[in-house]
């Protein structure tokens, strides 16, 4: 058996007209190495979507309130719209596309959102899924207050949150036991 090296992920370059300085960054995105030229002002959310084609990370407000763009930077959920791509040199980054390979079943967190109907239009869902994934990766089960605190960092306009809370609870039960 040979160990395969993950193939690099190709990035588009800034438009030639871009007036601000370009910088090289190297990072790991969903387990794959990326080296890219980015303009200083490029938001991480736009880098992921427009340069890497990872459109699962959604942009809902661009001022850090709605949480749709939440991704994991070094395993911690952060706002991609409040992070500059240039600040992500040498980080390890995960997006919703990195959770379950195309041919693999959904992760327990993704499955919980499906089974509990914790999603309707699906636009805010990747953000919720990334935050919930981080909760399930903690060493100990987060208490109710921590879960509430984490979920309040996301807006959903469709579900009324009830089924999202159920989904998160199911995912935590599955990870930590009931």
């Amino acid at each position: 058996m040979t160990t395969s090296v993950p193939a690099p992920l190709a990035a588009r370059t800034p438009p030639l007209a871009e007036p601000s300085a370009w910088h090289g960054i190297s990072l790991i995105v969903n387990g794959r190495p990326v080296t890219a030229q980015v303009e200083a002002r490029l938001l991480l959310s736009d880098f992921l979507r427009d340069r890497l084609g990872l459109t699962g990370t959604h942009v809902g407000c661009e001022h850090g309130v709605c949480g749709a763009c939440t991704v994991l930077v070094n395993d911690e959920p952060v706002r991609a719209c409040l992070t500059l791509a240039v600040q992500c040199d040498e980080v390890e980054l995960r997006t919703v596309e990195g959770l379950a390979p195309a041919d693999a079943p959904l992760t327990p967190v993704q499955r919980a959102f499906h089974e509990c109907h914790g999603m309707q239009c699906g636009f805010c869902t990747p953000g919720f899924v990334m935050t919930t994934t981080a909760l399930t990766e903690q060493d100990e089960r987060p208490d109710e207050e921590q879960v509430a605190d984490a979920l309040s960092g996301h807006l959903c306009r469709c579900t009324g949150y009830r089924n999202i809370r159920r989904a998160v609870c199911q995912a935590l039960d599955e990870r930590f036991g009931e």
Binding site: E39, A40, G64, R79, L84, D149
Partner: protein, 289 residues
């Protein structure tokens, strides 16, 4: 909602950072977590020509308790790390609680303690906690390093004692000695919002008389800076924090506070709310003494 064009650099020493900030050719701004700055960049309310990222300066990433027992938080220390730190939770619980009220974990993972202080939104929790805890601020610039007390640090809304060519390198919090009790109370519209109004209180108990020996009372959302009211503190000192003392302190707060209206609440609401929270906070703080 996209930033204007700027350049970016991540120096590895404070000296380099300060030199960059002092460059008269380019208007530079410090970025660490960016959780206050980047929304302003996206809305084009802040238009720097150069961003100086200080998170790659090793010494600014330190959080420690120094030889004299003071908590020193470097400018690149993230809020989540500070709030989770055992020493902070044990020795500076008011600070840990105030940090926990900042936004959401997704914000606190990137936002820094010093960034929130240097940004100085007067409705924010940290500036008020800092004044209440009598924090001191270490500022480095082309003219050297100076230390500023909390009450002199916050100048006006979104304005502090840090000059354009200077860098806030460290916030220093003195220890809370024995027989000191604390509380932080705030009213918010939603979970995680800035305070509509809030109060931080530290009371010291005179164990001989079982009365208040000293008090620090600071309000947020009540003016252009964290509002410390010595008159309220005076009203509490010497009392047993009983019903009458609390009512008297609340009356003073009502009379002295002059907050502003905004879309979330009237000035009147803030005044009343501050007075009400004061009673609650003093009660809690006294129980903790």
């Amino acid at each position: 909602m996209k930033p204007t064009s700027f350049d970016y650099t991540a120096p590895s020493t404070v000296g380099e950072a300060v030199a960059l900030l002092g460059d008269e050719e380019r208007e530079a701004k410090v970025v660490a977590g960016g959780q206050s700055l980047i929304p302003m960049l996206n809305m084009r309310l802040a238009r720097p020509e150069l961003l100086v990222d200080i998170t790659r300066i090793p010494e600014l990433g330190r959080l420690h308790v120094d030889g004299s027992g003071k908590l020193r938080i470097g400018a690149a220390v993230r809020q989540a790390r500070a709030a989770a730190d055992g020493a902070v939770r044990e020795g500076w619980p008011l600070l840990a609680v105030a940090i926990g009220r900042i936004g959401h974990p997704q914000i606190r993972h990137r936002g820094t303690v010093c960034g929130s202080l240097a940004h100085h939104d007067p409705a924010a929790e940290l500036p008020t906690a800092a004044v209440c805890l009598d924090a001191r601020f270490v500022i480095t610039g082309p003219r050297g390093t100076r230390t500023v007390g909390a009450e002199d640090f916050f100048v006006a809304t979104f304005s502090t004692a840090v000059e354009a060519d200077e860098l806030l390198t460290e916030a220093v919090f003195p220890p809370l000695p024995a027989h000191h009790g604390w509380a932080f109370e705030e009213l918010t519209r939603r979970h995680g919002d800035f305070a509509t109004v809030g109060v931080a209180v530290v009371l010291e108990r005179d164990t001989a008389t079982d009365t208040v020996r000293s008090a620090r009372v600071v309000f947020c959302g009540a003016g252009p800076v964290p509002v410390r009211l010595p008159a309220v503190e005076d009203a509490l000192v010497g009392t047993d924090v009983g019903e009458h003392a609390l009512a008297a302190a609340a009356r003073v707060a009502l009379a002295r506070l002059a907050p502003a209206d905004d879309v979330h609440a009237t000035a009147e609401y803030r005044r009343e709310g501050a007075a009400h929270l004061l009673v609650r906070a003093c009660t809690t703080a006294w129980e903790r003494c």
